[in-house]
């Protein structure tokens, strides 16, 4: 009648139980999500918060990459404090195990009179999946001398540079790891943050954190950012597997190590919007800056949100200026087709600055097969765009979202140690 198991035994038992999970059910639920079916990652589902969405934890890719944007997110940049390679592996295993439980849901354990409660209780005794995804990415600094990983660094992974219009505060940039939690409701995200950090107390420390939210469609289509414009309209369709394979998923070979297969480069940019200034700008100028109508989201050359801007019919930039945001970001030429990335934008609303102005903005995240070919190329093209006067990028970093956890015995980052 032994009531205890060792930590490793515990993890092993857990893995066994998870293997019996009806994986297909969760996957089907995820695929049934309206926004997902629409094929756009850039849209928060109308039903978010009402549905009991569950994203299958196991797969070739981490579920949070292609899943539709949900209402609430937290980005946690962390530095690893584990002493060595074995400690780092233990950390990854623990994150994996917690993420598997949290994204699946279930009862919190009963500990009798032997210890404090096993769970913070924020979600009650029966933890709901709540549409949670937990996405783990690694930063370039993880591949320094500490863990002997230098030889397996993703080829394009490096610290984020200062772009011409940036005002980066290095205190809120970079990190060994980036964990993104995303769910239908804030409490599910908060619970996940608490439980993962509690389970990994000695292994990693928060470096910076940024919370974000995605708005519901107002009144329809892609959610709006805090400048009032729809953000993410031209995203590639996540339902197009071939396209995802060309734009999102990184492949081994061509200088990339074996283990990166199925992962993705993640660019994070935390961008303050000078909203008081912006609200003093006339509508016509605002629309010229973006190249879209504010109300409908349609390109200035079109009438509906998803209309093609048809730049070929506007060769002199008479309607959509050459330096309009959408025209620079995605010129829609065959030469730039492979520069497209999967953007997953969130808003943030985080209090005030020293002068009493609102601190609001955008938590830009984008997944890339090749961060140089995609994000970096596009960002360079956006240098000194008119929009730059109204925004101030100050945080973020480059990361590599690990390949998925393939089954119950697999764990995030396992391939790094192969």
């Amino acid at each position: 009648m032994t009531g205890t198991t060792s930590r490793r035994g515990f993890l092993g038992a857990l893995a066994g139980a998870a293997a019996a999970a009806p994986a297909g059910v969760a996957a089907a639920m995820a695929h049934a999500d309206a926004a997902h079916a629409a094929g756009s990652a850039g849209s928060a589902s109308d039903t978010a918060g009402k549905s009991a969405a569950k994203y299958d934890f196991h797969g070739a890719h981490q579920a949070g990459v292609l899943a539709p944007v949900r209402r609430s997110t937290a980005l946690l940049a962390l530095d690893v404090t584990a002493a060595d390679r074995a400690g780092l592996q233990e950390l990854f295993r623990t994150i994996t195990e917690r993420a598997r439980f949290l994204t699946t849901g279930g009862r919190t354990p009963e500990v009798g009179i032997t210890t404090v409660p096993a769970d913070s209780g924020i979600l009650g005794p029966n933890v709901v999946a709540g549409g949670l995804t937990v996405t783990l990415a690694v930063g370039a600094s993880l591949f320094d001398e500490r863990f002997g990983l230098a030889s397996v660094k993703p080829a394009k992974l490096r610290a984020m540079e200062d772009f011409p219009n940036d005002a980066l505060d290095r205190g809120v940039c970079d990190g060994d790891l980036l964990l993104q939690l995303e769910a239908d409701d804030v409490d599910v995200v908060t619970h996940g943050v608490r439980e993962i950090l509690r389970a990994t107390r000695g292994g990693m420390q928060l470096r910076w954190r940024r919370d974000g939210f995605a708005s519901p469609p107002r009144p329809s289509g892609t959610p709006r950012n805090l400048m009032g414009f729809k953000d993410g309209t031209s995203n590639p369709a996540t339902s197009d597997e071939k396209l995802m394979d060309e734009l999102v998923w990184t492949h081994s070979g061509s200088g990339e190590p074996e283990w990166v297969e199925g992962g993705s480069y993640l660019a994070v940019r935390v961008i303050r919007m000078l909203v008081e200034f912006w609200d003093r700008v006339g509508l016509d100028e605002q629309q010229q800056i973006f190249g879209r109508f504010r109300d409908s989201g349609a390109p200035l050359t079109g009438t509906k949100e998803f209309d093609d801007p048809h730049y070929e019919l506007d060769p002199t930039g008479a309607v959509i200026q050459f330096d309009a945001h959408i025209r620079l970001a995605n010129p829609r030429t065959s030469a730039t087709a492979k520069q497209r990335m999967l953007r997953r934008a969130f808003n943030y609303d985080a209090g005030i600055d020293a002068n009493g102005n609102l601190d609001q903005g955008l938590v830009f995240t984008a997944f890339n097969q090749d961060i140089e070919r995609q994000f970096v190329t596009v960002q360079k093209r956006l240098a000194d765009e008119p929009l730059a006067d109204y925004i101030s990028p100050f945080g973020g970093g480059y990361f590599f979202a690990l390949p998925g956890v393939k089954n119950a015995s697999d764990w995030l980052g396992k391939g790094l140690f192969a």
């Binding site: 139980a17 390679r85 009798g112 029966n126 990994t200």
Partner: protein, 416 residues
């Protein structure tokens, strides 16, 4: 470290959870990570996909629940059991689920009022169990024994321990009190040395002796108001909106620290060092100082480190000496001392005791690394981000491991 909060929150009520897992971690290589909970498939409702057994029982003065085996029999299946207890007594009742042979308790439901219903859940493995009722004003009553079979494969059992009683804790508290008592003369001598420095105007020596005396005091583990008003006088911090320097009411170590490190003349320091001598004498003379409440001893090891994290690691108590790291070192010593007093009780009850001791030792070693060869201490503000992260992670690891100590050593009733 003088801040004190109210009494520690009462033991949390055990709500009707369905047990799914056991939280016990073994040693972890390289890094101490908190063991994580095992998932329970909600489809099955319980851990391992097994059935949840619902046991609705009535308690009264002469019986502690009906026979709760399958169909009211004396045998039950292993796995998840949820109990509800309707208290038919005229007073409160406390209920434990005890394994008869080992006397280990797997579930405790506290303070069920008359007519009220208490609930608790547990995942049981094979054994013979009984409920034990402890009515407020009557003798304990044991319920019928039920033989429980093996739990379904994969179920994570709730761990049980033999409860720690007040009687168990009395000698522990006494031993700890003796240790505190033995430290007091040294502290009294240290503050006299500090006072003598100030009286003769040797403020360089005063700074040195202030630190020695302060660390002696911090090592006593005055967390959570253990020394009551004495602590406020000896080691108080400024009132809200005030600093240690400008709070006219403040006395003790931090006031003296503020004066010494702001360059105040000896004439301003001396009255306060004299006052400190008398306040420390009063502490030493107070019979309560070395009479530790047995109920507090388990809490103390934990709370000392919580307070160190809250008030020292943040630099909040710093009044100019920048010696928070030294204070943390002294606090860790104090926590280690309180834990040591409990090892006899914990050895059979806490599988992570060795991890806990190792984590405290690792933190002590890390902190000691900031003690310079010349005797001075690295200021918190001089640490790099990586150093801060290592320090935070180390103390976090220790404090997570100390948290169960307070739960395990909470004095409980026991029927042998």
């Amino acid at each position: 470290m003088s801040q004190s909060s109210g009494p520690r929150a009462a033991k949390p009520w055990l709500w009707g959870l369905v047990a799914a897992a056991v939280i016990v971690a073994g040693a972890v290589v390289g890094v101490a990570l908190r063991p994580a909970a095992r998932e329970a498939r909600s489809a099955g409702g319980t851990g391992g996909g097994a059935a949840l057994h619902l046991n609705a029982l009535h308690l009264n003065i002469s019986s502690c629940g009906e026979r709760w085996g399958d169909g009211g029999s004396a045998t039950a299946k292993g796995g998840a059991h949820r109990f509800t207890f309707v208290n038919g007594n005229t007073g409160d009742v406390e209920v434990q689920l005890q394994e008869v042979a080992s006397k280990k308790v797997y579930l405790e439901v506290d303070g069920v009022g008359p007519g009220a219903t208490g609930t608790g859940s547990v995942v049981l493995g094979a054994g013979t169990y009984r409920l034990v009722c402890y009515p407020a004003d009557a003798d304990p009553v044991a319920g019928p024994e039920v033989e429980v079979g093996a739990a379904p494969a994969g179920a994570q059992l709730t761990p049980g321990i033999v409860p720690v009683t007040t009687n168990d804790l009395i000698p522990v508290a006494k031993a700890y009190g003796t240790w505190v008592e033995g430290r007091l003369p040294g502290l009294q001598a240290e503050v006299r040395r500090l006072d003598a420095d100030a009286q003769v105007g040797d403020l360089v020596a005063a700074k040195r002796d202030w630190l020695t005396a302060h660390l002696d005091y911090e090592g006593l583990g005055a967390a959570y108001g253990a020394f009551g008003d004495h602590d406020a006088a000896i080691n108080g911090t400024p009132a809200p909106g005030r600093t240690s320097l400008d709070d006219p009411q403040l006395t003790g170590f931090h006031k003296i620290e503020a004066l010494l490190w702001s360059g105040a003349p000896a004439g301003r320091v001396a009255p306060l060092t004299a006052r400190l001598v008398s306040d420390v004498d009063a502490l030493a003379a107070d019979p309560r100082t070395d009479r530790i409440d047995p109920a507090d001893i388990g809490v103390r090891a934990h709370e000392i480190v919580e307070n160190a994290i809250q008030f020292e690691l943040t630099g909040e108590t710093d009044a100019g000496s920048h010696t928070n790291l030294a204070t943390i070192g002294a606090n860790l010593d104090g926590s280690q001392e309180a834990l040591s007093a409990l090892t006899g009780l914990l050895a059979s009850r806490y599988p992570q005791l060795a991890d806990t001791e190792a984590a405290l030792a690792a933190s002590q070693k890390l902190v000691e690394g900031y003690h310079r060869a010349d005797g001075s201490w690295t200021p918190l503000g001089a640490l790099s981000r990586a150093q801060r992260q290592q320090l935070d992670a180390s103390l976090d690891t220790a404090v997570e491991l100390l948290a169960p100590v307070a739960e395990i050593t909470e004095p409980r009733k026991a029927l042998s």
